[in-house]
């Protein structure tokens, strides 16, 4: 494919650069190693920080009081809270949510060979929860861009 001799001519924006870095860092490895690649491994604290940083950098341009709270690991899932304005009381996240979440996220009833994995977004008061499996592939910066986009659609539908 043709490409400019001077890469600065591409003039990528910060989110386009993140997409290209994810392709170079993760997708090429996935093509070689498949399910043994790092995308299938558990996401680490640093990955969640990068995810939240990108999510807020995108959606925060519209809702500038958007902030992230610490993620909560729940038996193979991760619940990443965001909030608008005042820091909310999130102690209820530590309750008995695990089995309910598993049913909501994994839908294995439809077909024996097809497992549907749901990405959940839950909105309440000034809180947005994003709940997904804990593998890195759900928490790279490209997914933050997509999640920000889908969240914006939800918020727009809610009148925001």
């Amino acid at each position: 494919m043709p490409y400019p001799e001077d890469l600065s001519d591409l003039s990528l924006s910060f989110w386009e650069r993140a997409l290209s870095e994810d392709v170079c860092n993760y997708m090429t490895e996935f093509v070689r190693l498949g399910q043994n690649s790092s995308l299938w491994k558990k996401a680490q604290t640093r990955d969640f920080e990068n995810y939240c940083g990108m999510f807020i950098r995108m959606l925060g341009t519209v809702y500038d009081n958007l902030k992230a709270s610490g993620h909560v690991s729940i038996s193979g899932f991760v619940c990443q809270p965001f909030y608008f304005g005042e820091h909310p009381d999130l102690s209820w996240l530590e309750g008995e949510l695990q089995e309910g979440l598993r049913t909501l996220i994994y839908d294995e009833k439809a077909s024996g060979n097809l497992r549907t994995i749901r990405v959940l977004r839950y909105y309440s008061d000034n809180v947005l929860l994003i709940i997904k499996p804990n593998q890195l592939r759900y928490w790279i910066r490209s997914t933050a861009i997509r999640d920000a986009d889908e969240t914006l659609v939800n918020l727009r539908e809610q009148g925001y």
């Binding site: 995108m58 519209v62 304005g85 909105y123 008061d125 986009d149 914006l152 659609v153």
Partner: protein, 239 residues
């Protein structure tokens, strides 16, 4: 080996922490802040006609939005039904959601003054031709599904205060006569208080209207964003 597919589902609603209409108002604010940067861009060819200024402004907004306002994309001449198009539209973007096809706000651009005497009042109304800025929004010929829209004024002569007064006088005159432009005008259609930024040479105002015609919403709010295009008067040097 089982296959996987991804679905996304959402539950609940946000009830506090952010204001309603945030995306639209932020987009208007972004456009307003970019207007003087566009005007003063040293790479910008010096054009005066609206067909040349509109795509210039649109491509500047889109370029700046990529980094500074990345959830929104700007496009030029989006069809509005019939043969009509809107000058600039903004839509929330990135992935394959429905919003990729639905503008969140549209902007109609007008020169102040209009390029010819027979189109003098075109910022407000174009009479039978239905070419007026406020008129087209009120009739639902533009942005029939949107409650909040914008108008950009390229001030090419006189001051923003001059045009604010003149436009409100036109509306006042229209309210006292029977018009053939499809609209019923009243003093309530006048532009509100004009906020002038003398440093950046921009101004903004707001007007609220009742729509007529086939529109999804009967209430209409227009944000007026004006940029003074002509060079500032030279200051006399003090000896």
């Amino acid at each position: 080996m089982s296959l996987e597919s991804r679905e996304q589902e959402s539950f609940g609603t946000i009830t506090s922490g952010i204001d309603k209409g945030g995306l639209v108002l932020k987009t208007i604010d972004f456009v307003h802040r970019q207007l003087p940067k566009w005007r003063d861009d040293p790479d910008r060819p010096d054009e005066r006609s609206e067909p040349m200024l509109n795509p210039q402004l649109c491509s500047f907004l889109d370029r700046r939005a990529r980094d500074d306002f990345p959830m929104v994309q700007f496009s030029h001449e989006e069809p509005q039904g019939g043969h009509r198009t809107i000058d600039i539209s903004a839509r929330a973007i990135k992935s394959m959601t429905y919003s990729a096809y639905e503008a969140c706000i549209v902007l109609e651009c007008k020169r102040l003054p209009s390029p010819s005497a027979d189109r003098e009042k075109e910022y407000v109304t174009g009479g039978k031709k239905k070419s007026g800025g406020i008129q087209r929004f009120r009739l639902g010929l533009h942005a029939a599904s949107l409650q909040v829209v914008g108008m950009i004024g390229y001030v090419q002569k006189e001051s923003a205060q001059h045009w604010h007064g003149k436009i409100n006088r036109w509306i006042s005159q229209l309210s006292k006569t029977t018009t053939d432009d499809g609209c019923t005008w009243s003093d309530r259609d006048k532009l509100g208080i004009l906020e002038v930024d003398t440093l950046r040479r921009t101004a903004n105002s707001r007007s609220d209207h009742i729509r007529t015609g086939k529109s999804a919403t009967s209430d209409l709010t227009i944000h007026h964003l004006w940029v003074v295009m002509h060079p500032p008067p030279r200051r006399r040097s003090q000896k």
